[in-house]
């Protein structure tokens, strides 16, 4: 049988693992596909190539297709997010100078307490904090805004876009004081001796959706068969990745010159949830630092689209109701149900939920009986009900 080739774009990060694993372990061939993986250098490039048909699908920041749908980008055919590929995987780092000051003041660098880390940081920031994030529309930007909102530092905080591989340089050059980025780029900055890690993204929001599989609506509509096959291949790769024994192997594969081109030891930290928070080798264990499958991680909850759209609309002065409505339309729970049911994915009864309501893993009704979701709480205790948010 000859395989049909699909071109998938990815940006080098540990959360590109589902694409790389699908290709390297042959989950693509099992579905009669051959993935050609294209390494990209920026999110703008990913968006442009997808919009122009240069790639068939992209590993993309979850908020990016939402921003595109809201008209905050060039005019391209509509984008659909058909499944979430990863949850978590982000870390917040501060400059070596700030870290020293925080330590002097008695901060213990526990890596899991957002309030302690925030208070310690604000105490030494001197009224100003410039924070790097990978893209204006990124889960990182949302995490940073949420974490620092309502503090005395509110007015002094500014958020700047810095490409992930350049985060360490920007910190070293004093262009930013801190950053939030996906692994391995936070660990890379630690290894360079310019940063210390203060917090995992999941400590701010227990279930922050990070990357999704994004296709144009033209593709999902005109090539449903290949859309389904692609989704199933990636879904199986995600399931493989969440078997704990496979994570070290994944780190090896990902680190090859063709992909991340970094020492496996660096990619492994995020994948195993064993992070070195400083140059002196202090290790913090963070189980479930990044998830690819468990807790229904792959389901593109429409309530997540609404939540992120509400935040983007507020920042960019758009009508919130309209924005939430548009965004929910590009999270294709219908395609998820249609294409992944036959792969054996369990499916939740509802397509939207109250975000932030689960402090612990919780069983909910599903097609197969029960599925375990969450936890998904925000550190500030907020809950988001899309029905209540629409006014």
């Amino acid at each position: 049988m000859s395989l049909s080739t699909l071109r998938l774009g990815y940006v080098p990060l540990i959360d590109a693992a589902p694409l790389i694993v699908a290709r390297e372990l042959g989950f693509d061939a099992e579905e009669g596909l051959s993935f050609e993986l294209i390494r990209l250098q920026s999110w703008a490039q990913s968006r442009d190539l997808l919009g122009m048909g240069g790639i068939d699908a992209a590993h993309m920041l979850v908020p990016l297709p939402i921003a595109q749908t809201l008209g905050l980008g060039p005019v391209y055919p509509r984008f659909d997010l058909v499944m979430v590929l990863s949850v978590g995987g982000q870390a917040i780092a501060v400059s070596a100078a700030l870290a020293d000051a925080m330590r002097t003041q008695g901060h213990g660098f526990g890596f899991g307490d957002p309030l302690a880390a925030r208070d310690a940081l604000i105490a030494v920031a001197g009224g100003r904090l410039r924070v790097g994030v990978p893209f204006p529309f990124s889960t990182q930007a949302e995490l940073v805004r949420r974490w620092l909102a309502g503090t005395g530092l509110d007015a002094g905080v500014s958020i700047h876009t810095v490409p992930p591989p350049l985060m360490a340089d920007a910190l070293a050059a004093g262009e930013v004081d801190a950053f939030c980025v996906g692994e391995p780029w936070a660990s890379y900055a630690v290894e360079r001796g310019v940063a210390a890690l203060v917090l995992a993204g999941r400590s701010i929001w227990a279930s922050p959706p990070e990357k999704g599989l994004v296709l144009t609506r033209d593709f999902t509509a005109s090539r449903p068969e290949e859309t389904g096959r692609m989704m199933r291949a990636l879904w199986r790769a995600c399931r493989w990745l969440d078997q704990p024994d496979n994570r070290s192997t994944a780190a090896e594969i990902l680190s090859r010159p063709d992909y991340l081109n970094l020492p496996p030891e660096l990619s492994e930290r995020g994948l195993l949830g064993r992070l070195h928070i400083s140059m002196s080798g202090e290790v913090r264990q963070y189980p479930g630092f990044i998830r690819f499958h468990d807790g229904a991680a792959n389901f593109p909850w429409r309530s997540l689209a609404a939540l992120l759209a509400q935040r983007i609309a507020t920042v960019h002065g758009l009508d919130v109701n309209w924005a939430m409505d548009q965004a929910m339309g590009c999270f294709r729970t219908d395609l998820y149900r249609q294409h992944l049911r036959q792969a054996g994915a369990d499916l939740p009864g509802a397509s939207a939920r109250i975000e932030g309501s689960m402090l612990h893993a919780t069983a909910v009704a599903s097609e197969m009986g029960q599925m375990i979701l969450g936890p998904d709480a925000f550190f500030d205790g907020e809950t988001f009900d899309p029905a209540l948010a629409a006014r």
């Binding site: 990209l40 250098q41 920026s42 999110w43 703008a44 490039q45 442009d48 190539l49 122009m52 240069g54 905050l72 980008g73 060039p74 005019v75 990978p134 893209f135 204006p136 700047h160 876009t161 810095v162 490409p163 591989p165 350049l166 340089d169 920007a170 050059a173 262009e175 960019h316």
Partner: protein
């Protein structure tokens, strides 16, 4: 008509010079080259250019994306992308490997000759880059094949010609390239010693 202010973001000095040459030929512009990625946002904000040209694959593009979003209508923004109405031009630019950030409200007839010139130059570089990569790959393959030949000569006591013939026959039998077979052999030999 006022001169247009253009920024070219390009690290490679030689390449930058040639792009500037191409742009100069399209009219009288004030052109600045930025070769450093640090401080990019600040430097662009200070210069308030009408157009920024940057390689489609440059990691710093995302910094420009942010500039395009944050600049309000009153601050002469480096606004959005290639002219929205001209999809063909956008496509040509991206295929050539150049992305353009154009100030809001700049007339299309002023943008087009500049973009045409940029597209022509970037096309040229893309071709050169592809050729260079192909040459490099061919050299690498040559080296691997030589090593594989040496391994065979030593292991089987045959001469160079026979070693190459063996590689070629194996490749043909397996419907693979000689270089792939050589690569496998070198790797396997590495494991055995």
């Amino acid at each position: 008509m006022a001169r247009l202010s253009i920024i070219v973001v390009e690290r490679d000095r030689d390449r930058a010079l040639r792009i500037v040459d191409g742009l100069m030929a399209s009219g009288d512009h004030a052109i600045t080259v930025i070769a450093e990625e640090t401080g990019l946002a600040r430097r662009i904000a200070e210069q308030k250019p009408d157009i920024v040209l940057i390689d489609v694959a440059d990691p710093s593009r995302d910094v420009l994306e942010e500039l395009a979003l944050v600049s309000g209508p009153m601050e002469r923004p480096v606004a959005m992308f290639v002219d929205r109405s001209d999809e063909q031009l956008t496509r040509a630019a991206i295929e050539a490997g150049v992305s353009a950030y154009v100030v809001d409200g700049l007339q299309p007839e002023r943008i087009k000759p500049i973009l045409d010139a940029a597209i022509a130059r970037f096309h040229m570089f893309q071709k050169m880059r592809a050729e260079l990569a192909a040459t490099k790959a061919a050299l690498e393959e040559r080296k691997i094949i030589d090593r594989a030949k040496a391994i065979l000569m030593k292991a089987r006591g045959i001469d160079e010609e026979a070693a190459y013939a063996l590689l070629r026959k194996t490749a043909m039998d397996q419907k693979r390239r000689v270089a792939d077979i050589a690569q496998q052999l070198v790797m396997a030999a590495g494991l055995l010693t």
